[in-house]
């Protein structure tokens, strides 16, 4: 302790003690120089690292993209990490079945044509039991018997009917996937697959970061990115501001399939409207004057399925949409319409002095590994080109 104090005072240019060994002094100097060199090196390296932010409303697929990055450009998930996802996946199952069960009850009370939401008598007891489990603090292990019961309830017509009204409840997107794989999930030696992990729904809170380089194998790129993932619900957004300094690119996720759903944190607000307002807010941030914007129109796979049955104009923002054709062409039309709307928002909220920032729109579905890989290669290319361009100018 005393020695350290001496060192500090010594550094300040005061003579601390005369009997100090000059050799020790020398070693000390050597050490501090080494530390200084390291710090310098690191800060140099820091400069090369590009900061990427994943922003977007809740449940827009930010964390799924984040997981994909981990899978694609990092070591991926080892067995321990995969197994860490078991409780998450099981929690997803229990919570989903509870939401569906309670939702069917609610719908049967509120809607006029309620008979189809009434669970058959033989499944009622199972439903009550599962609902109770879903509301408890610690979930039991998903045994074969429990999985069987959940599956029975899932197959119940009332539950299926409720599921088709899922946009009014907060049913997670992974519902169908997990419900169809219940038997596998309940295996005693179950290890989640990559797909399971990608499908697992976890509400992110706070900030998570990861560092990666898109071209892992041949190291040609050399570009290093640090990607930040954040929570998207309203309460989480107050934390974003801490990350806004020095961002190279914002990856804004917008789940385009959610045009008929309401927010998790506010049942009275359409998710698409919220996304629009949020996008406007982010675009106006003074910190992002020179920041590139990568807009991911996410969940295209779900969008594709939804468009034929739910018209796009249920959402206030897309009120003026008129379906022109059917089938695949219609999906394309709808997608182009949404894309145009987002483009409009971008240009309306980009002041003339900021026009030189990069803006790109990508069609993604975060679950599709190949697509995400391709998209990221494109993002990487755009950003590198942008850097070269800036370097050339300077």
């Amino acid at each position: 302790m005393v020695f350290m104090l001496c060192k500090i005072i010594d550094k300040m240019g005061l003579l601390c003690s005369r009997q100090k060994h000059s050799r020790a002094d020398f070693e000390d100097n050597e050490q501090t120089a080494e530390i200084d060199r390291r710090i310098e090196q690191e800060s140099k390296a820091e400069k090369h690292i590009q900061k990427l932010l994943l922003l977007g409303a809740g449940d827009s697929g930010k964390s799924t993209i984040f997981k994909q990055i981990k899978l694609l450009f990092q070591s991926g998930f080892d067995e321990v990490e995969l197994k860490n996802y078991i409780p998450v996946i099981h929690a997803n199952v229990y919570q989903t079945i509870k939401i569906l069960h309670d939702g069917s009850k609610e719908l049967s009370q509120s809607l006029a044509d309620s008979s189809m939401f009434i669970i058959s008598d033989e499944n009622k007891q199972i439903g009550e039991k599962l609902s109770e489990i879903g509301g408890s603090l610690n979930y039991p292990c998903l045994t074969k018997e429990l999985a069987q019961e959940i599956e029975t309830l899932w197959r119940d017509n009332a539950i299926q009917e409720t599921y088709s009204h899922g946009n009014e409840l907060q049913v997670p997107d992974c519902t169908h996937y997990f419900m169809e794989n219940l038997q596998r999930l309940s295996d005693a030696d179950y290890v989640p697959t990559k797909e399971d992990v990608l499908n697992a729904r976890v509400r992110t809170t706070g900030v998570v970061e990861i560092q990666f380089s898109p071209v892992g194998e041949n190291k040609k790129s050399g570009e290093v990115y640090r990607l930040f993932d954040v929570g998207g619900q309203k309460n989480e957004r107050r934390k974003w501001i801490h990350l806004f300094e020095g961002v190279s690119a914002v990856i804004f996720c917008a789940a385009i399939s959610e045009y008929d759903q309401t927010l998790f944190e506010d049942d009275n607000k359409n998710r698409m409207m919220e996304t629009k307002e949020l996008f406007e807010w982010v675009l106006k941030q003074p910190c992002f004057e020179k920041t590139s914007f990568m807009l991911f129109l996410n969940k295209f796979d779900l969008f594709e399925k939804k468009v034929p049955s739910v018209p796009l104009n249920v959402c206030e923002w897309f009120k003026d949409y008129q379906p022109v054709s059917t089938g695949k062409q219609e999906t394309e039309n709808a997608y182009e319409f949404v894309k145009k709307k987002f483009e409009e928002v971008y240009f309306q909220n980009t002041a003339p002095d900021r026009v030189d920032r990069v803006f790109k729109i990508y069609r993604t579905s975060a679950l599709d590994q190949k697509l995400v890989k391709k998209t990221f290669k494109l993002v990487d290319e755009t950003l590198r080109r942008r850097n070269l361009f800036e370097a050339g100018l300077l």
Partner: protein, 466 residues
């Protein structure tokens, strides 16, 4: 003498005006002082507007009295010397009505919180507008009927209904206060309130007498001069006394002044006489038992673990869930029979963690939030159960795994190891005696004054942390 009674500007008038100016300055000083002297952050939202509105109303009331009664010798022909402007609009809706409206609003809020045990069913702004409506209506009516003479006096036909309106609001306030009288308040708000009401009813009574005298006996000059002198002085005193009644701002006066060194989240618990944790013995035993296999909600009951976990969560900007957990834990420590303290704590938690846009708002579903905000019983033991449940799941799925591989957990483990070594060194001859005495001081947190002295609490705390 003969003219000054009619035109104003008698010596007594100037005395009255100086008294009213003095009281206005005092009023302002009183309102601003805590924020300037003690550097308390400016109150936000509702509480700030209520204070500002009251100041505004008091100012209007005094000024309108001066102008309407003609205390100053001014040219009556000026457009701004309009009787209806001063003695009807500014004195009525913007002065007396607004002032009492704010007070009634506060009493109404307390009534809802502590008697009905629910959050006020109507937004404060809306309530205030509603309460001001009769004033606005009658002011419009007078304005249309034009009963005032050129000295801004009205006939006795008008005085009675107008005085009734004034009295009605005083009665309403006394009524609401009466409804909450049986509650034993934590911060002595009620005592203050009663004192204020007693004094202000006295003032109002005198004020009414003066007003009637002033209006009715226009011919007797002495009565004119004396009554308007008294009127202005009473108005000033009324405004001053009204503002001094501290109501629903107990945190400013009691806690933030004395316990500023603590983080704001811990303040409410302290103010209510709860120490953050007094389970010292449990802590010693359990520190080595931190085991990732145990469910998180059990682990979080351990104070040392919770601290470490909170530090971790704060470091990744996700701390509000853990803070919420801790505060709900404190709420659970309050016996369920102690409604008042439970309501205070519940309201504090709602204001800080639940309302949309709150500073520490937690990530819970719409349903949970609505369930709490529309509760019919703020003292209900399971008020926060569902949201806590959701948040524990959130922490489990989102934070826990990262925590186990973080340096915060490493540190905790290291600490636990050191403890074990220490204990082994001391063999079995562990002497608890001096620790016992330290526990004793925290053992009975409820006997502490609600604002434990700075030294008392911190020294106690130090020993606990040792």
């Amino acid at each position: 003498m003969a003219t000054c009674a009619v035109e104003g500007g008698c010596p007594s008038d100037y005395v009255a005006i100086s008294i009213s100016i003095l009281s206005m300055i005092l009023l302002l000083a009183k309102a601003i002082k805590p924020y300037l002297v003690h550097n308390i952050p400016r109150p936000q939202g509702r509480s700030f507007w209520l204070i500002a509105l009251q100041l505004f109303a008091s100012f209007n009331l005094i000024l309108s009295t001066v102008m309407a009664l003609g205390l100053l010798r001014t040219n009556m022909m000026h457009w701004w010397n309009n009787c209806y402007l001063w003695s009807v609009w500014i004195e009525g809706p913007l002065g007396f009505g607004l002032l009492l409206g704010c007070r009634i609003l506060q009493a109404f809020q307390l009534y809802n919180l502590f008697v009905k045990r629910r959050l006020p069913p109507i937004r404060s702004f809306l309530f205030l507008t509603l309460i001001l409506f009769p004033w606005l209506a009658s002011a419009t009516f007078i304005h249309v009927e034009k009963p005032l003479d050129n000295r801004c006096h009205m006939g006795s036909l008008w005085i009675i209904p107008i005085m009734c309106l004034h009295a009605l609001y005083v009665v309403a306030m006394v009524g609401f206060t009466g409804a909450i009288r049986h509650i034993e308040f934590r911060f002595q708000e009620l005592k203050d309130l009663w004192r204020g009401i007693l004094f202000s009813t006295f003032c109002v009574g005198l004020w009414v007498v003066c007003y009637i005298l002033n209006m009715a006996y226009e011919d007797i000059e002495l009565i004119q001069i004396i009554s308007r002198f008294l009127l202005l002085v009473m108005t000033s005193l009324l405004a001053l006394s009204f503002f001094s009644i501290s109501i629903s701002q107990p945190l400013v006066t009691l806690t933030s002044l004395r316990e500023r060194e603590h983080p704001p989240s811990a303040m409410m618990g302290r103010a209510l006489g709860l120490l953050p944790d007094s389970g010292l013995l449990v802590e010693w035993d359990s520190i080595q038992l931190v085991n990732p296999i145990e469910p998180l909600d059990k682990l979080l009951l351990n104070k040392r673990f919770r601290q470490s976990f909170m530090e971790f969560a704060d470091s990744c900007l996700a701390g509000e869930s853990v803070h919420f957990f801790e505060e709900v834990q404190q709420l659970d420590k309050i016996p369920s029979a102690d409604h008042v303290r439970r309501i205070y704590m519940a309201r504090h938690i709602i204001d800080n963690y639940i309302t949309p846009g709150a500073t520490m708002e937690v990530n819970i579903s719409h349903r949970c939030r609505q369930e709490i905000l529309s509760t019919l019983d703020l003292a209900h033991p399971n008020l926060f159960k569902n949201s806590l449940n959701e948040l524990i799941h959130l922490m489990k799925t989102n934070l826990a795994n990262d925590y186990w591989s973080s340096t915060f957990y490493m540190k905790l483990k290291e600490e636990a190891r050191m403890r074990v070594v220490e204990r082994e060194l001391e063999h079995s001859g562990w002497n608890f005696s001096h620790r016992m005495s330290s526990i004793h001081c925290a053992d009975d947190p409820f006997h502490h004054e609600h604002s434990p002295g700075k030294f008392g609490s911190s020294s106690c705390h130090l020993e606990l942390m040792q």
